[in-house]
Every structure is written in structure tokens, then in C-alpha cells.
Amino acid sequence: MALTPAEVRHIATLARLALSDDEMSRLGTQLSAILDHFEVLKDIDTEGVPPTAQSLDLHNVQRADVVTPSMSAADLELNAPRVEDGYLRVRAVLE
């Protein structure tokens, strides 16, 4: 299944990945080849088979509703690229 350049661009937009034209064209070819390979699943009968999300039979794991210490804001700010007055600064989202 060959992906069109428009489809590759659309996926990159969804994934918020800025890609060069060269990357776009290489990824288009490589992803198409991988998607061809995915076709083998079509031949496997999964009628009535439930999906597996993970391999343990654990459901709705809960803990007691007790307050525990969390990391300090000052520690977390150490890795943040833009901090102002104790806030993470981002560019305006609405223009």
C-alpha cells in the first residue's frame, strides 16, 4: 500500500513532527513497505477473538485515597526550558 505525499504530510502534522522534504519522501517509501508487510494479518482469522491490551489479568488497580508527598516545583523547574515566576512559559496558543 503506497502512501501519497499528502498522506505522509498529514501523519506528520498529526504527530507534530516538522520533517524536511527529503525525510518526507524517504519515510513515504519506507512506511509503504512496512504497511505492505502488515497485510499478512488479514489472513489470520480473528472472528470472535477478544483483543489483548496487556498480558496480566489486572483490572482497575486502585490505591487508598491518601495524600503523599510529591516532587517540589523547584526540582521540576530545573529541567524546564522556559520558566517565569514559578510557571512554565509557552508561546501564545491563541493568536
Binding site: 498529526l14 512506511l31 508487510h37 502488515f38 494479518l41 489470520i44 491490551a53 496487556q54 498480558s55 529541567n79
Partner: protein
């Protein structure tokens, strides 16, 4: 003081430390000198933690002097740089996290520290653990100590290479589709992927959350049991960790191979398997049989072949969601000169991630996108159920399933770098085990073209002890695990 033999295993060092042959400090100093000297060739480490190691070694000496400590007290260990370490840069081998210093320790790092182990450094990997060669590292490729022109496997190639090269006796890795077992095979050491849920994932940089597991590299089963025992167990911070007691993973040592029921599925010995690998495996099966194991060649796992395809839908899908957090706002690389908020985010991600990571994010985003979810992700999850059922049925008839770990020995650097499908095929035999969730171990079982061959044993859920017992039994009748790569420098 006499020179310390760094070819020793962790349990041999532990005995020597207790006997007062040398101190943990002397062992740490000798180890640091060796791994630094080796790293020009191997590039197994991203960050060395000399100061931390010497502090931990002094604390270990104090504990040993007081008659305290356990099997890992004072033992040098390498830690894959995907595992968060408080105050120590944790990069995931990505430019995205090139300067990231975690404000907390992963649970496995906490437990490793509590065991008294001495952390020598953070080991190299494929970026975000995505790869089978450790070539996809922003810090350059790791080399195979058996042949520097070849890859060590991946993604935990740094941990595998430094253990194989007698740098450290043990190391931690992570395994999402084979990232412990395949490099263990290609470097000629033991690597174990525990059952999904056996070891906490909290604080480990997430790749594919339903598949990722932390596990040990070692040069024998006893050391692997000790390291797994130190880090395993339920963790309230990881709701997918299993609320089960941790056994003594050496509990099946001493039983030997007598009566061990070994299933050999022909599905795993088909096209694409190198002749030299097949021959080493067949000789090892003969060794097992000669020592009392019962070989069963009638078990089949026909759907497991599709595991590779299932994996390349599920893992990139989960990765595309997990890696959405790298947005340049909270931590990590940030591009600050964009036109607007969205452009900055896209530029941050486009510049911060390497080629393989971008490839997988694109693949996962596509598989999860509107109109394709049922055809890809949901279908893959259903096939996953079939694969689990096949493993369960096979393991009703046998105690362990034996397969090659990798279809080939270590390949040359750059050989598969631009051929993603050929690279992905390296994990054909290891991936189905992650899909099913079962534990798997790779142990050295021979050589082909002068390079190590690995044998994979797969066990029932939470039966790591059975795998390590079988590995220990095999070590007692073979000496593949004692083979060391050539000394250099």
C-alpha cells in the same frame, strides 16, 4: 594489593569481598579504570558515574565491615541509560533528553542502590530503545567486543558489550521486543526478560508500555538471579506491576536438566535462520538430551510468526502516544524560535528525535489514525490473544520452549541501518515472547564464524526460576558462558 581479576562473576567478587581479598573501593577503582580504557573501542557508556561509584563503594565497604549487605553489596553494575537516575543525566540516547537530569530515581534504580551495588555508569542504547543494533544512538554506536566492526545488538547494546568485555559483571537493560535477549546473544552472555509485570517500570523512559520490561545481563545464571531478585517485585507506583511475592530465583538450581521437558517448535527454525546458528542450536539440543532433558519437537506456535507484524503495529502505536510528552515545554530539548506554539512543538520534535524514532512515531500515528484503528491496532490486539493462547497451550506440554534468540550472529555496522525491515527481522524470535508476556532468557550456546550464538528459553508466566534453573543446568555441562572476547589495547 594483588591485581583484581575482573573476569570474575558477581558472586565470585562477593565471596572475595567477604573474605577480605580486596575492598569494594579497590574493585570500583579497578573497574572504572578498565571500562574507561575500553570505551574508546566499545563506546558502551554514555555517562560514567565515577564519583557516585566511589561513594557507593565506600558505603558498601562499611556495610561489609559491619557484617551486613547482600549478594550485590560492592558489586559494579552498568545501568541502561533509559532508566531514570536521580541527579545523573538520563538521555535515552536521544538529543531530546541530552541534558535531562531526573529529579527522582526509577524504582529499579532505588532497589539497585538499596542492594549495595556500585553504579559505574549509564550504558548506551538505541534511541528510546528503538532498534536492534545500538547504531541509532545520538551518542554514536556501541561496538561488539568480539569484533569491533560489528554491532553488539540492541537496543541494550552498551550493557551487553560491557558485561561481555569483562568491564562489569552485571548490568540492567530493558526489553520491549528482544532488547535484552538479542544483544546478550550477539555478545555471548546471558540476558533475561522477566514476565511482564515482574519488574516495575516506574521511572523508566517509556517506549511501549504493554511490552517494556527491565531485566538483567550477567555472565552466569547465578548472577542474573541475584540482580533480578534485587529489582523485582510489586511497586505501588506501577499499577501494571504484579502483586506477587518474589521467589528466590536460584530455587531450581541443583535440579540439573534431568526430566526437563523442552519444546522445540519447528516454526522457529525455518527460513532466514543462518546455518551456523541452526547447527549450534542443534548441538545444544543434543547436549540437553544427553543430560536427561526430554525433547519434544511436536509443539507448534504457527501464529507466533505473525508476532513481528503485531509488534510493529502495537509498539509504534504505544510509542507514538508515549512520546507525545516531548513537547519542548516541561523538559528536554526545546526549539525556541518557532513562528508560534505549534511550530515550536513540531520543530522541537523534528529536530530532537532521530530517524528511527521519527519512523516509529509516524507508523504508530498512522496505525491509530481515524479510519485505520480497526484494521491495524485492534486487529493486532486480537492476533495478540491468539499468540498468547498458543504459548499457553505449548507450555502445558513442556516446561520451556527452546528457540534461537536471533536468526543471525552479530552483523556489520551500517549493514542494516537504512533497511528497517531487515533490521526488524532480527527480533523475529524474541518479539512473540513480549507479545505474549512470558519470560525469556538468552544464553550462550556456541559460535558461528567466530561469533557467539544465543539460545532462547521461554517459560510460563512468572516462572523465571525455571528458566534460570535450566540455564544453570546447561552451564554445568558446557563452558560457552566462560568464553571471553579478545583483550584489546
Amino acid at each position: 594489593m594483588a591485581t583484581i581479576d575482573l573476569g570474575r562473576t558477581a558472586h565470585e567478587h562477593a565471596a572475595a569481598l567477604r573474605a577480605g581479598e580486596y575492598t569494594a573501593r579497590a574493585l570500583a577503582e579497578a573497574t572504572l579504570a578498565r571500562v574507561h580504557a575500553q570505551d574508546g573501542d566499545l563506546n558502551a557508556y554514555i555517562t560514567f558515574t565515577d564519583d557516585l561509584a566511589l561513594q557507593q563503594a565506600d558505603a558498601a565497604d562499611a556495610a561489609l565491615k559491619a557484617g551486613q549487605g547482600g549478594p550485590l553489596t560492592g558489586i559494579p553494575v552498568g545501568v541502561k541509560d533509559l532508566i531514570g537516575t536521580k541527579g545523573v543525566r538520563t538521555t535515552a540516547a536521544s538529543n531530546m533528553l541530552g541534558n535531562f537530569i531526573p529529579p527522582y530515581d526509577a524504582t529499579v534504580a532505588q532497589r539497585l542502590n538499596a542492594s549495595g551495588a556500585v553504579t559505574i555508569g549509564k550504558t548506551n542504547l538505541d534511541e528510546f530503545a528503538m532498534g536492534s543494533s545500538t547504531e541509532h544512538s545520538a551518542f554514536g554506536p556501541t561496538k561488539n567486543p568480539w569484533d569491533l566492526a560489528r554491532v553488539p545488538g540492541g537496543s541494550s547494546g552498551g550493557s551487553a558489550a560491557t558485561v561481555a568485555a569483562r568491564g562489569v559483571p552485571i548490568a540492567l537493560g530493558t526489553d520491549t521486543g528482544g532488547s535484552i535477549r538479542q544483544p546478550a546473544a550477539l555478545c555471548g552472555i546471558l540476558g533475561l526478560k522477566p514476565t511482564y509485570g515482574r519488574v516495575s517500570r516506574w521511572g523508566v523512559v517509556a517506549f511501549a508500555s504493554s511490552l517494556d520490561q527491565v531485566g538483567p545481563f550477567a555472565r552466569d545464571a547465578e548472577d542474573a538471579a541475584a540482580l533480578l531478585g534485587a529489582v523485582a517485585g510489586h511497586d505501588p507506583m506501577d499499577s501494571t506491576s504484579a502483586p506477587l511475592p518474589v521467589p528466590d530465583f536460584t530455587e531450581r538450581f541443583g535440579r540439573g536438566l534431568d526430566g526437563l521437558r523442552v519444546g522445540v517448535p519447528s516454526d522457529f527454525f525455518g527460513e532466514g535462520l543462518e546455518d551456523g546458528v541452526r547447527e549450534a542450536l542443534e548441538r545444544s539440543i543434543d547436549v540437553l538430551a544427553a543430560n536427561g532433558a526430554v525433547i519434544n519437537r511436536d509443539i507448534t506456535l504457527p501464529t507466533a510468526q505473525a508476532g513481528l507484524t503485531v509488534y510493529y503495529i502495537i509498539a509504534p502505536s504505544e510509542a507514538s502516544a508515549n512520546l507525545a510528552r516531548y513537547d519542548g515545554v516541561k523538559y528536554g530539548y526545546s526549539y525556541l524560535d518557532g513562528r508560534n506554539a505549534e511550530d515550536e512543538m513540531s520543530q522541537t520534535r523534528g529536530r530532537g528525535f532521530g530517524a528511527e524514532v521519527k519512523r516509529r512515531i509516524m507508523l504508530g500515528t498512522y496505525a491509530l489514525s481515524a479510519g485505520y484503528y480497526d484494521a491495524y491496532y485492534l486487529k493486532a490486539q486480537k492476533v495478540r490473544t491468539l499468540i498468547r493462547r498458543e504459548f499457553d497451550a505449548a507450555l502445558d506440554q513442556v516446561d520451556v520452549i527452546l528457540t534461537p534468540t536471533s536468526p543471525n550472529v552479530a552483523f556489520r555496522l551500517n549493514e542494516k541501518l537504512d533497511a528497517p525491515l531487515a533490521m526488524y527481522l532480527n527480533d523475529l524470535y524474541t518479539i512473540p515472547v513480549n507479545i505474549a508476556g512470558n519470560p525469556g532468557v538468552s544464553l550462550p550456546c556456541g559460535f558461528s564464524e567466530g561469533l557467539p550464538v544465543g539460545m532462547q528459553l521461554i517459560g510460563r508466566m512468572f516462572e523465571e526460576s525455571t528458566l534460570l534453573g535450566a540455564a544453570h543446568g546447561f552451564e554445568r555441562v558446557t563452558d560457552w558462558h566462560r568464553q571471553a572476547p579478545p583483550e584489546r589495547g
